[in-house]
Each structure stands twice: as structure tokens, then as C-alpha cells.
């Protein structure tokens, strides 16, 4: 599959996290610092138009709510802010969120209806935050038991109630994030009938730290990738889990492209897909054509010159893939949640790459 476009947004600095707005004209990134850059596509390159600089420590995650046009950012300084666009001043104004955590925040996601969001933290808990009209700020409720270690990632169920969380105590769990006053009734055929806030609907083991979790588009299954290079799919609290062992380096980010296809990416510097061919899930070969090596005329001359002056045997420093370092974040770019056609990825090399899922000839999978 071809990378449709790749942009070197930052040179020598990793992109910790990225999120697009609804029409994909603007991009919010965390450039491995205390600031968040809002970039706009001008011509064929991305330029910084705003900088949000309220955090004191590394911003670990940004999420842009497409419909309400709000950005939530969380950082290692134990804070999160919700930024709203103020047209009068043409700037983003922050609202403090009372997370009440005493360790770093690691991950944040808006719920599908965008009335609440969940923040994963190193305080061994998840803060589910909602807006309190009377006091004009965001308040939180904590999901604590039975989490024993830093929560590394969270993802919401499409019906706005359930929350999946992956943690470094090597477990993936599904919680109920039902908030009285914001949500209507809470129940699901697959995950449980009565779901008051804090119910653990399912707890699934893994062989290593669970880096990323995601609900399927229907919400009936979750997928998670762990540090033992496995991708696991769980379809409900009582069903057995399906584990796919891979011989690649561990994956750190994943999302469902359809009910039968999952895109995973991580330390191997290229995205892969996990496809369901009816009866079993399988990992496909990596979906990256790789860089075309330009063979110049005097490459042999240069090679021996390197050996003579610098005693270097091989001059190949670049990897044979579009990303030159770990991919840290993959997100759907174009398409509906149950039929994603393009996705974006950012990594430690500072590149943003947009990938095309259809051109890889993945027409044989049931989309």
C-alpha cells in the first residue's frame, strides 16, 4: 500500500500525539514539549497557526472533538485542559479540568457524544470528566478498583457508556462510565445488564503491558495490543479471548478499520493489519512499500570513501520504511467508523503520514 502523503512536520523531535478536526484542515499535535501546536494545511505543507501553552510538563495526549470543536489535552503535570475556540478573539481559550489526580496523565479521549471524556493516569485510576453547568468547570469521577498500575490508554464504546482501558499491570478492562444526569439508561447485551458507574464488565489478561485498546465499531468486541507482541480480541466478558502472536516488535497503537479489520502500528515503524477471514484473525504483511532508494552515479565511490576516511562499513542509516522510528499514534482519517478508507500516523521521527487502505487491494476482505 502506498502512503498517500507524508509530511516531515518536525525535524529531530518526536510527535507525541496528534488529532485532526472534523474536516481534516487543521491538526493539533504535541511536539514532545509542554506546548500544543495547532497546524493548518497551507498548500502542501502544514504550518503552525496557534500554540496552546498552558501546561507545565510534557503534553502526553491531545484529542479534538469533531462535532463540538473542542480540544482536550492532558500532560504529565497532573492537569488537563479543555480548549474552546473563541471567534471574537480568534484564539483557543482553556478551561481547567479538575482531574484530582496526583500523578501524570497519560491518555485522553472524548466520548462519542462529546459530553464527557476519560483521562488515564499514572495514579492508577481513570478520571471520567463531565461539565458542571453551575460552576462552569469540568468535574471528574474516578474509576479506581481494580487497577493496580498506570493506565496507558482508554477508548469509549460507541453508545457513550462503556470504557475500555489498557494498563501496565498487564490487563485490559472494560468499565462502565455511566454518569447520572448526562447519560440515559445503561445496559448492553454483550457486556452486562445493570451498569452503574465503576462496574468492571470484563477483565482480560495479556502477557505484557497493554499499550492500546479499542472497541469495535459495533461495540461488541475489544482489541488490545500488548508488549509481548500480541494482539488480542475479546468479544464479551464470558467468551474466550483470541490471541494473535506476532514475531514483530510490540505494537503501541491500534484502531478498528471495520468490524473485520484492525490497523496496528508500533515499534516496527510500519503499520500492519489484522484481518478476520471468517473463522480466524491473521496478521497481514506490513502495509508499507518502503522508501525508494535513489541510486546515484558515484555511490560506489562514496562507499569506499566512507570506508577510508571514517572506517564505516555500511552507510545505510535510513530504515526501509516511510517512518524512520516508532509509530506512536494511528487514527482514522477518512471514512465512517465501520469503513475507514484512510488513516493517519505520527511517530517519533516527527513525520505525519496519511495511508490509503483501499489501494492495497484489500478488496478481498469483507468491509
Amino acid at each position: 500500500m502506498a502512503a498517500v502523503e507524508s509530511h516531515q512536520i518536525l525535524i529531530g523531535t518526536p510527535i507525541t500525539s496528534h488529532s485532526f478536526n472534523r474536516d481534516r484542515t487543521e491538526l493539533a499535535i504535541s511536539p514532545n514539549s509542554n506546548e500544543v501546536n495547532i497546524m493548518q494545511k497551507q498548500g502542501s505543507s502544514w504550518n503552525v497557526i496557534h500554540t496552546l501553552a498552558d501546561h507545565d510538563k510534557l503534553v502526553t495526549c491531545v484529542d479534538w472533538a469533531p462535532n463540538t470543536n473542542r480540544i482536550v489535552t492532558c500532560a504529565q503535570d497532573r492537569n488537563a485542559y479543555v480548549w474552546t475556540w473563541a471567534p471574537e478573539t480568534q484564539s483557543w481559550t482553556p478551561t481547567l479540568v479538575l482531574l484530582r489526580i496526583n500523578r501524570a496523565a497519560t491518555h485522553v479521549r472524548w466520548s462519542p457524544k462529546e459530553d464527557k471524556f476519560a483521562v488515564a493516569s499514572g495514579a492508577r485510576l481513570i478520571s471520567v470528566c463531565y461539565f458542571e453547568q453551575e460552576n462552569d468547570w469540568w468535574v471528574s469521577k474516578h474509576l479506581k478498583k481494580p487497577i493496580r498500575s498506570t493506565v496507558l490508554s482508554v477508548d469509549w464504546h460507541p453508545e457513550n457508556i462503556l470504557l475500555a482501558a489498557g494498563s501496565s499491570d498487564m490487563k485490559a478492562r472494560v468499565f462502565s462510565g455511566f454518569i447520572k444526569g448526562i447519560d440515559a439508561k445503561a445496559s448492553s447485551e454483550v457486556w452486562g445488564q445493570k451498569l452503574p458507574f465503576g462496574t468492571v464488565c470484563g477483565e482480560f489478561p495479556a502477557g505484557g503491558w497493554v499499550h492500546s485498546v479499542a472497541f469495535s465499531p459495533s461495540g461488541n468486541a475489544i482489541a488490545y495490543c500488548a508488549h509481548d507482541s500480541t494482539v488480542t480480541i475479546a468479544t464479551g466478558p464470558t467468551q474466550p479471548i483470541y490471541v494473535i502472536q506476532t514475531n514483530t516488535l510490540p505494537f503501541v497503537s491500534l484502531f478498528w478499520a471495520s468490524e473485520f479489520a484492525i490497523v496496528v502500528a508500533g515499534h516496527d515503524c510500519a503499520p500492519y493489519m489484522v484481518l478476520n477471514n471468517g473463522s480466524q484473525w491473521q496478521l497481514t504483511p506490513k502495509i508499507d512499500n518502503g522508501k525508494k532508494k535513489e541510486v546515484s552515479g558515484n555511490s560506489a565511490f562514496n562507499k569506499f570513501k566512507q570506508m577510508d576516511t571514517r572506517a564505516q562499513q555500511n552507510t545505510d542509516v535510513e530504515l526501509n520504511s516511510t517512518h524512520q522510528n516508532t509509530i506512536t499514534c494511528v487514527r482514522p482519517f477518512v471514512g465512517t467508523p465501520d469503513r475507514v478508507t484512510h488513516f493517519s500516523s505520527t511517530g517519533v521521527d516527527g513525520q505525519l503520514v496519511i495511508w490509503d487502505l483501499l489501494s492495497a487491494g484489500i478488496a478481498n476482505l469483507r468491509l
Binding site: 507525541t16 510534557l58 502526553t60 497532573r78 501496565s168 499491570d169 522510528n325
Partner: protein, 169 residues
């Protein structure tokens, strides 16, 4: 003897490639801190099982990993007293300049001759595969360096002795 070198280095290389999958991890114990977990050793669940790769009882590599850092300790082959002294002086020379080395640790882990500490900040700035290449080449080269130093030491000792005894002949 040297037919164990290639598999030894291949095992070290593949273990290092797997262990160098690091990410930023804020401390769970102290707020607002970010420490290499392999050095702090405060939370057991974020540490990986240490792996020892031995070529023989005199040459070993200990690789301790964690979620945001990696410690590599090497025991260099030292077969006699001269080599022990040379190795000690050589590693001491390197370790006193550990700041320029970036990934070198100032003190070796007890039981080993030299140690490296690689954190997620290093893997963000440098290519992981080149870091692995560096460590493997270092392991190959340090043996050659010490043998060379020993040879030149013996050669000099012989020349000095000859020149001194010449005055008595």
C-alpha cells in the same frame, strides 16, 4: 573458539532490538518526576526479566529492561593480570568521560566491567538500530583493543629491557 562469537553477537543484537522498545513513562511513585525505571526499580510491574547472554563463564552480557529504560552490562574477557589491569584502566578512562558518551553509565553494575544506560529520551533522538549496532561493535572492538594494548605493552617492555641490558653486554 571464534565460532561462538557470531551466535553470541547475534543473540545480543536481537535481545537489544527487542529491549529497546521504550516509551516515555512518568513516575508512578513521585509526582511530576520522570526517572529511568530500571535504575529507580520502584515499581516491579514495569520492569522486565533480566537476561544474561554468556559466551563462556568469563564473557557475559546482562540486559535489564523496563518500560522507559534499558541497562546493558558487559563482562569483558580478562585472562591474566596484565589484561585485568588494562581492562580496568580502559573502562575507567571511558567511564570518566561518560557525559560525552551519552549512553554510558558512570559506574558499572556490580559484577560487570562496563554498563550502558539507554533511556526513551535517547531513543527519541537517535536511531534504535544504530544504537544496537554501536553496542555490538563496541563489544567486538573492546577485545581487540585490549589485545592490542597488551601486545604493545609487551613489545615496549622487551625493547626497554634489551636497551638496558645492552649496556652490560
Amino acid at each position: 573458539m571464534s565460532n561462538t562469537l557470531r551466535p553470541y553477537l547475534a543473540a545480543v543484537r536481537s535481545t537489544l532490538t527487542a529491549a529497546m522498545c521504550l516509551e516515555n513513562f512518568g513516575s508512578q511513585i513521585v509526582e511530576r518526576h520522570n526517572k529511568p525505571e530500571v535504575e529507580a526499580r520502584s515499581s516491579k510491574e514495569v520492569l522486565l526479566t533480566p537476561v544474561i547472554i554468556s559466551r563462556n563463564e568469563n564473557e557475559q552480557v546482562l540486559i535489564e529492561g523496563s518500560i522507559n529504560s534499558l541497562r546493558i552490562s558487559i563482562r569483558i574477557k580478562q585472562s591474566d593480570d596484565i589484561e585485568r589491569i588494562l581492562c580496568h584502566k580502559f573502562t575507567r578512562f571511558l567511564m570518566m568521560r561518560a557525559e560525552n558518551f551519552v549512553i554510558l553509565r558512570r559506574k558499572p553494575v556490580p559484577g560487570y566491567d562496563i554498563s550502558f544506560l539507554v533511556t526513551n529520551f535517547h531513543t527519541e533522538q537517535m536511531y534504535k538500530h544504530k544504537l544496537v549496532d554501536f553496542i555490538v561493535v563496541f563489544m567486538e572492538e573492546v577485545d581487540k583493543e585490549i589485545s592490542e594494548m597488551k601486545l604493545s605493552l609487551n613489545a615496549r617492555a622487551r625493547i626497554v629491557a634489551e636497551t638496558y641490558l645492552l649496556q652490560f653486554s
